[in-house]
């Protein structure tokens, strides 16, 4: 049994038609699966309507108390319940969770260094027993990017990090694949050529691509995270567009697969 952990972001969530199409693909995705979602621009939009402007320091977003309330409402309330209701409508028994629910994800408020990020959580522990219980009972956990510190404080938490931590925690006992849906069809050889997808990256290829400066800036932390997940037992990591997820499920080339063993693809 392979568990698939699938992360979507604003580029899917912010567009109702794209989201609906994605959820149908998810419904047909084989095997047990877990969906992790962020919040996209919806949280910023609601915040601004309430007079809470995004706060940035050195280009990093700060989660003050008002912003935390807004992301809790938008991520764990509006978006999470909308996704769950839409999955229920197509016959998928989804159950929405934040990291506080069932103590799913315990995190620690990020320490104040040069920047005080506010109510932002760094993940400490994932309660895999709860995920196993839900999966064994044919439910699909739909997880919003809010965690808690087990001392009563909710914390805004990076959705990519949640997906990685869930995948690596489950990988101790299960075969796990991790899927990151983003706004590009994969890692590209030419930034503006969507057809220049690198289908497979292993550590050798990664080093080569970095040396040739094909991979740079934004992609490097994403790929570093992917390799870290592999190190911790995840079977493979896929990066691509949400609309290509069903191709990925069929083992067709449809994005970039990050894997350590070249000839052990499917």
């Amino acid at each position: 049994m392979t568990i698939s952990v699938i992360k979507i972001g604003g580029n899917v969530i912010d567009y109702p038609e794209k989201l609906a199409e994605f959820l149908v693909q998810l419904a047909h995705f084989p095997g047990p699966k877990i969906l992790v979602h962020g919040g996209g621009i919806m949280a910023s939009k609601f915040g601004e309507s309430l007079g809470v402007m995004p706060k940035m320091i050195d280009g990093r977003r700060i989660t003050d108390a008002d912003t935390l309330d807004i992301v809790t409402m938008v991520y764990a309330g509006l978006i999470n319940k909308d996704i769950v209701a839409k999955l229920q409508a197509i016959g998928i028994n989804a159950l929405g969770l934040s990291g506080a629910d069932g103590n799913l994800i315990r995190s620690k408020k990020r320490g104040v260094g040069k920047i005080d990020y506010g109510y932002v959580g760094d993940i400490q522990e994932v309660n895999t027993a709860l995920l196993s219980l839900l999966l064994e009972n044919d439910m699909i956990p739909v997880i919003s990017a809010i965690t808690h510190d087990q001392q009563g404080q909710l914390l805004n938490t990076n959705a990519d990090g949640i997906a990685s931590h869930i995948a690596t925690s489950l990988a101790k006992k299960h075969k796990v694949n991790l899927y990151f849906c983003f706004n590009k069809p994969g890692v590209l050889l030419e930034e503006h050529d969507d057809f220049s997808i690198v289908p497979l990256i292993n550590e050798d290829i990664y080093e080569e691509l970095k040396q040739e400066s094909v991979i740079h800036s934004g992609m490097i932390p994403k790929l570093d995270n992917a390799f870290a997940a592999l190190q911790m037992g995840v079977n493979h990591v896929w990066i691509g567009k949400a609309e290509n997820l069903s191709l990925a499920a069929k083992g067709k080339l449809s994005g970039t697969i990050i894997e350590n063993h070249r000839y052990d693809l499917y």
Copy 2:
């Protein structure tokens, strides 16, 4: 094993200190339990901040699309996750749910008669298997007053009704007590005398009190609902103040108990 279904409203939720005190009482409440909450004035406050004014027709609140988004955010997001995180902090493994999660509560959009209530749900079915699964795994379900129609539509739903339906659905297989926390210490003989609590109401007493006009207006639907729950197998219904819940748990007089069998109280 007696399952307790406990409903709280705005008079607890709107005051952080009262809520904290209540949650400690809940933690010490014996046996498996389920918490149902509404939203209080917080939803109206956020709605107004967003420029969405409460819409009333003939004194009844209307849930238009914007209002539905707001109650989903506030009930299923902000309030639900705040309660769950606070319960986790005092060692209670709470798990927050809307009626869409795990298909917990399927409802039907209320038909348009003289008044179009908008996105308001009348409850059709409760998934007791999910509640049993969580209770058997020592989790406390915390349920917000949002349901779904299994066709992708979320619906604003009366929290008292959710508590009643959950209690009567579970009563088919379990002994269930239902607790309604509200802003009075119980059914009062004298409206403004908080010490004039009627400790016990059975059908005979109810008829008598109605004839004497001791019980009128707002209390009648509450008590009719309570008797309907008893008819459907609920063991007893308690009505009182949240701060007296721990006395009720100990079998001490602390509110009004509605029961059909006078000499079978505890």
